[in-house]
Symmetry: C5
Subunit: 308 residues, 5 copies
C-alpha cells in the first residue's frame, strides 16, 4: 500500500507511483488511436464518414454511466472500508483481551501462562492474513506458536478460528483452576465473540464479491462508451478530439479500475489494505502493553509505503 | 452463484456465463427492430415521419431515470448485502456457540451430549435455507437430526426457531444438572439471541419486497424510454441509431434486471446468494473446531461456481 | 399491502393493482390537456404563442429535480425500512423472550403462569399497531388479555409500554419466588430493553414526519415542472408532446407519490407496512414455539395480498 | 415545529405556513428584478447587451450544483434525524429505567424514594433541552427537583450529566442498603451508560456544525448561480425568463435554506425538532408507567403544531 | 477550527475567514489568465484558433465529475464525522467511568485513590491527541500524571492504550482489596472496552487515508477540466468567459480542497476537528461531575473560534 499524503496540489497532478495511470496507459493509447481514426474519417481522408454529428447521445449515456459508476464506487469503497474496520476491531479486541488477561484474574498469573496466551493472540492476525490471501502461514505461525499448538493449527482448515478456540480453552483452564472468576469469564467471552465476528466478517468479504453480472455490465458499458466517444466528439471539437477522448476515457476507466481494485480489499494491489503491516502493528500493540521492546516496523511517513 | 473474479479487462468484455446479457437478448433484439423502423421512417421509406428531431427530451428523461435507477440499485444491493451479512453472522454465532459449548462448562461434557448440540446447530442453516426458499427440508434435516428432534422440528412451522429453542433447552438441561453455571448461561443466551436476530432478519427480507408500486414504475419507465429512444436518436445519428439504441437499452435494462435479481437475495438466480454453499461451510466450520474431517465442498476458485 | 413478486417482465408493464397509476390518472390527464393547449398554441391556432423554443432550461431543472427527488426517496425509503426493521426486531425479541421463559427458570413453571406471560407478549404487537394507527385496540386486547390486565392497559396512555412493564413485573414476581435467578433476570432485562427500543422507535417515526417545508417544496417544484414542460417540448417534438409530457410527468409524479406514501410507513396505503399481518405472524411464531396450533393466516403467495 | 401531514395534493401546492417560501420572498423578488433587467437588456432597451446567448454553461453548473446540494442535504438531514433518534433513545432509556426501578429491586421501595428517582429522571430532558438551546433551566428544574438537588444541579456546568450521576448515586444508595442486588446494579448501569450516550451525542451535534467552509461555498455558488441565470435564459425563452428564473431560484434557494435550518436541529425554526414537546412526552410516558394522570399536552393532530 | 454559525444570508456571501477562498485565489487567478488567453485566441488576436466551438463535451465531463466528486465528498465527510463521533464517545465513556468510580464501589474510596483514577482518565484525551497529531505529549502529560505513571506512559509506544491499561489495573487493585465487587468489575470492563474502541478507531482513521490512486485521479481530472473549460465556453459566452470559468473552477476546486482537508480530520486546518478544545472539554466534564471548578476554556460563541 502506497502512503503519500499531503502532496502539494501541483505535484499531485504529476504523481505516478501509486496512481492507476501506468496500468491504464496501453488502453488509453488505444483510445488515442481510435480518436485519430475518427478525426481522419471526419476530414474525408477515409472513403466513408464515421462521425456521428452530435455529442448529445454521448452526454445522455455518459452521465447515466457516471451515476451507475458512482453507485459501484460506493459499494466497492464500502467493502474496502468495512474490511479496514474489521482489522481495526481486531486490534481493539486484541488490546482489550490483553488488558483483561493482565487485570481480570483474581491472582497473579505465572509468566509462562501469560506467554502462551499472547503467543496465540499475536499469531492470530498473521493466520487471518494468510487465510484471506490464500498464502502459506507456516513460517509466520512456526515463529510464534509453541510446537503442539502450531501442529494443531496447521491441521485445521480455519486457522484463525482454531486460535480463537485455543484462547477460549486457555480461559477455561484458568477458570477451572480458580484464577479467573465466573464473571471475568463472561468478560473474556464477550471479546472472544468479537474476534469471531472479525474473522467471519473478513471471510464474508473475501468469499462474496460484488455480483458478477454487475461488474461485467459496468465494465462493458464503460469500455464501449470510451471507444465510441471519439466519433461523437469529432464533429464539434475536431482535432482536439484525441485530447478529450483520452481525458474522458481516463476519468471513467480509472474509476472503474480503482473500484475493481478496492472491491477486493485483501489483495496486494497498491490500493489494497496493508494486511502485513497491520498484523505487525497489532502484535506490536500487544507487546507494548506487556512492556516489551518494539518490533522493527517500516516507518510509512518516512518511506512512503507500508508493507502490504 | 457464479464466481469469476480477476478476469483480464479484455476477456471481461466478452464474459457470457453469469452475465445478464443472455437473458436480455430477446428484448434487445426488439429494440434493434424498433430502431430499424425508426431509421426507415426517417429516410422516407414509410409514408409518415416518426422521428422526433431531437434528443434533448431523451437526455432529460434518461438522466432522471439514471438517478432513480441508481437509488433503486442501492436499495436492492443493500438488501442483498444485508442478507449476506446475516448469513455471515450465522457462521459467527455458530462458531461462538461451538467455542462456548467446548470451553464454558465447568466440567467435561459427555461426547453424546455434545453431539446432540452440534447436530442441531449444524442443521440450523439448512433449515433456514429451506424455509427461505420454500423447499422441502426433510432430507437435509433427517440426515442431521436424531429421530425425536427431527419429528418435532418437522411438526413446527418455523423450523429454525424451533432448533434455536432446542439449543436453549439443551443449555437449561445441563445448567440444571450443574455442568453450566448461571453466568455461562447468560453468555449462551446472548448468542442465542444473536441466532434469533439472524433468523428473524432473513424472514424480514424474504417477506417484505421493495414496494411493488416502486418496482413497477421503474420497470415501466425504463422500457418505455428504451422503446422510444430510437425515434429520438435517428435524426442526429442516422444509421448508427440501432447500435446506440441497443447499447443504451442494454445499460438501462441490465441495471434494472440485476436490481430485480438481487433484491430477492435468497432465490436461485446466478447473482443470488449461495445459501447451499454457505450452509455447508457453516457446518464445516463447526466440524473444524471439533477436529472432525472436512465435508466435501466444491472449490469455487477452481470450478468457477458455488452451490446455490 | 400488495404482494406480487416475480411477474414476467412484459406483464409487469401492464400491472394495475398495487401501482400508483390509477391514483395519478386524473393529474396525468390534466398534463395531457395542457399539452394539447401547448401544441395548439404552437400551431398558431391560438392568437399568442406560448412555446418556449427550447428544452434546455427544462433539462437543467428536470435533472436537478431528479437529484432532489432521489434524496427524498432515499429518506422516505429509509423510514419505511427502519419501521420494518423495528417490527422485525419485535418478532425477534418476542421469540427470544419466549425461549427465555421456557428455558431460563431454574424450575418448571406452572402452565397458568406461562399463559399470563404469553398472553401479554402476544397482545403487545396488536397494542402497538393500534397506537401507531390511532385505532381502537379494545377488541384485540379484550380477546387476548385477562380482565384485570385488560383494564389496566386500557386505562393507560401508552399501552405497549404498559404491557412491557407487566412483563417486567411478571419476571420480578417469579424472581422473588425463587424460580428465576438474578443472572436470568438480567437476561430478561436485556430483551425487555429491546422491546422498549422497538416501541419508542415506532413512536419516533410516527410522531416525526419529514420536515414539512421539504415535502412542500419538492411537491411544488415537481408539479410546476410537469405543468410547464409541454411548452418547452412542443417546439422540438411537436405533436408527440402530449405523449412525452405525460410520460415525464408520470415518472416524476409517481416518484413523489410513492415517497409520500412510504414516508408514513404505518398507514394503510397499498405500499405501507402490513402491520396487521405482522402482528398475527408474531403471535403465531410465539404459539409455534409453545407447540400450539397455527393461527389462520391468509397466504400472501396464493392470494396476492397480505392483511394491512 | 409545524405538523401538517396528509394534505390533498392540490392544497399542498398552496401551503404557506411552515414552508420556507415566506422567508425567501424578498430574495426571489430580487431575482425577479434581475430577470427584468436581463429581458430589457436583451430587447435592446439598454445600450449594451448582457445576454449570454446560451444556457449550456448553466446546465453544467446547475446540475453540478444539484449534486453538491444533494450531498449537503443528506448530511444536514442525517444530523437532524440522528438528533431525533437520540431524543427517541432518551425516551426509551427513561422507560427502561422506570421499569427497572419498579421491577428489579428485591423488595418494595418506599414511595418517597421512588419519587426522588422519578423527579430527577423527569427533569433530565428539560435540563438537556435548556443546555442545547442555551436557555435558562431554572424554572423547569425548580418545579421538578427537590431543593437540595436543584441547587446542586444549578451549580454544575453540565446539568444533564449531573442528574445522571444523581441517578447512579440513588442506585448505589439502595444497593448498599440491600434493596438492589449486584446483578441489578449492572442492569441499571447499562441504561445509565445509554443516557450518557444520549447526552454526549446531543452535545456533539450542537458543538460541531458542518464544516464552515463547506456551507459558505455552497451558499455562495447557489446565490451566484441564481443571480446570473436570467442572463443565460433570456435568449432562449425571452419574456418567460422571470418566471423560470424565479422558479429555478426557488428550487435551489429553498433547498439550501432548509438544509441550513435542519443542520442545527436543536434550534427553534419551524423545521427544527420539537424539544419542548418531546421533553413533556418523555415525562408523561414516565408518569403513565407510574399510573399517574396525564400532563396537559397540545394535540398536534388537532392543532397543527407542536411546542417547539 | 472556525465556528461562525447563523450568519445572515447576505453576509455569508462575503465570508472570508474560515472559507477556502483565500487558499484558492492563486489557482483561480491562473484560470482567469487562461480564460483571457481563450478569449483573445477566439477574437483572432492570436494566429491560431483554440476555441472548441461547443460546451457539450464539457457538460458531459463536468457532470460526470460532479458525481464522482460527490462520492468523494461523501467518503471524506464520513471520515470526518466518524472521527468526531469517536471523540464524542470518548467523552461519553469518560463520564460513564466517572459515574462508575463514584457510585459502583461497595464502600467509599479514599480521596487520593480517586485522584489517581481521574488523573489518568483526564490525561487520556491529551495523550490521544498528541499521538494522532504526532506532537510531543510531554508537557500535557507531565502536568496531569504522577511521576511514576508519567514515566511509564512516556516509555510506551501507544500512550493512550497504556493509560487505559492503567485504569484496568486500578480497578483490579481495588477489586482485589474488596472495594469493587466482581459484577462491578464487569461494568468497568465494558467501558474500558469502549475506550479501546475509541483509541483504535482514531488510529485507524489516521493510518488509512482514502486510496491514494483515487485522490490523485479526482485531483487531476478536476484541474484539467477547469484549465480547459475556458476554451469550451468562449464560443458561446464570449467575454463573459473569465467570469464563468472562474466561478465553475471555484465550485469544483473548493469542493476538492475541502474534501482533502476533512478527509484527514485530525490535522490543524480550519475545518479539522478541534481536538485541543475537545480534550479540555472532556477533562472539564469529568471535573464537573467531581464538583471541581471549571477549567478556563475559550468561549467559541463569543470568540468565533475554538482551540484546534
Amino acid at each position: 500500500m502506497i502512503i503519500r499524503p499531503h502532496l502539494h496540489w501541483f505535484r499531485m497532478l504529476l504523481a505516478w507511483q501509486g496512481s492507476v495511470l501506468p496500468r491504464l496507459l496501453p488502453r488509453l493509447f488505444l483510445i488515442f488511436c481510435i480518436s485519430i481514426v475518427a478525426v481522419a474519417a471526419h476530414d474525408h481522408l477515409l472513403p466513408i464518414s464515421l462521425n456521428l454529428n452530435t455529442t448529445a447521445p454521448f452526454s445522455l449515456i455518459g452521465i447515466a454511466l457516471a451515476v451507475f459508476l458512482g453507485f459501484r464506487n460506493n459499494a466497492s469503497y464500502d467493502r474496502w472500508w468495512e474490511a479496514r474496520k474489521l482489522w481495526g476491531q481486531l486490534l481493539n479486541e486484541s488490546r482489550s483481551l490483553t488488558r483483561q488477561v493482565l487485570t481480570l484474574p483474581s491472582r497473579p498469573m505465572p509468566k509462562e501462562d501469560l506467554r502462551e496466551f499472547f503467543n496465540a493472540l499475536g499469531a492470530l492476525p498473521h493466520a487471518l492474513r494468510h487465510q484471506l490471501r490464500h498464502t502459506d502461514p507456516r513460517e509466520d505461525l512456526a515463529a510464534r506458536l509453541p510446537q503442539a499448538l502450531f501442529e494443531r493449527v496447521m491441521a485445521s482448515r480455519y486457522k484463525p478460528a482454531t486460535l480463537m478456540l485455543y484462547l477460549g480453552e486457555w480461559v477455561q483452564r484458568h477458570a477451572q483452576a480458580g484464577a479467573i472468576d465466573p464473571m471475568a469469564v463472561i468478560a473474556f467471552d464477550r471479546n472472544l465473540n468479537g474476534l469471531s465476528d472479525v474473522i467471519g466478517g473478513c471471510e464474508r468479504i473475501v468469499s462474496t464479491p460484488l455480483p458478477f453480472a454487475y461488474s461485467v455490465m459496468i465494465h462493458r458499458t464503460v469500455y464501449f462508451f470510451c471507444a465510441s466517444l471519439p466519433f461523437g466528439l469529432v464533429d464539434s471539437i475536431g482535432i482536439f478530439t484525441p485530447v478529450f477522448a483520452v481525458f474522458v476515457a481516463y476519468t471513467f476507466m480509472a474509476h472503474e479500475a480503482i473500484a475493481s481494485q478496492i472491491e477486493e480489499p485483501f489483495g496486494i494491489d497498491d490500493n489494497d489494505l496493508a494486511l502485513h503491516m497491520m498484523s505487525l502493528v497489532t502484535e506490536d500493540a500487544i507487546r507494548d502493553l506487556l512492556g516489551e521492546p518494539a518490533l522493527a516496523l517500516p516507518n510509512p511517513e518516512a518511506e512512503g509505503y507500508v508493507l502490504n
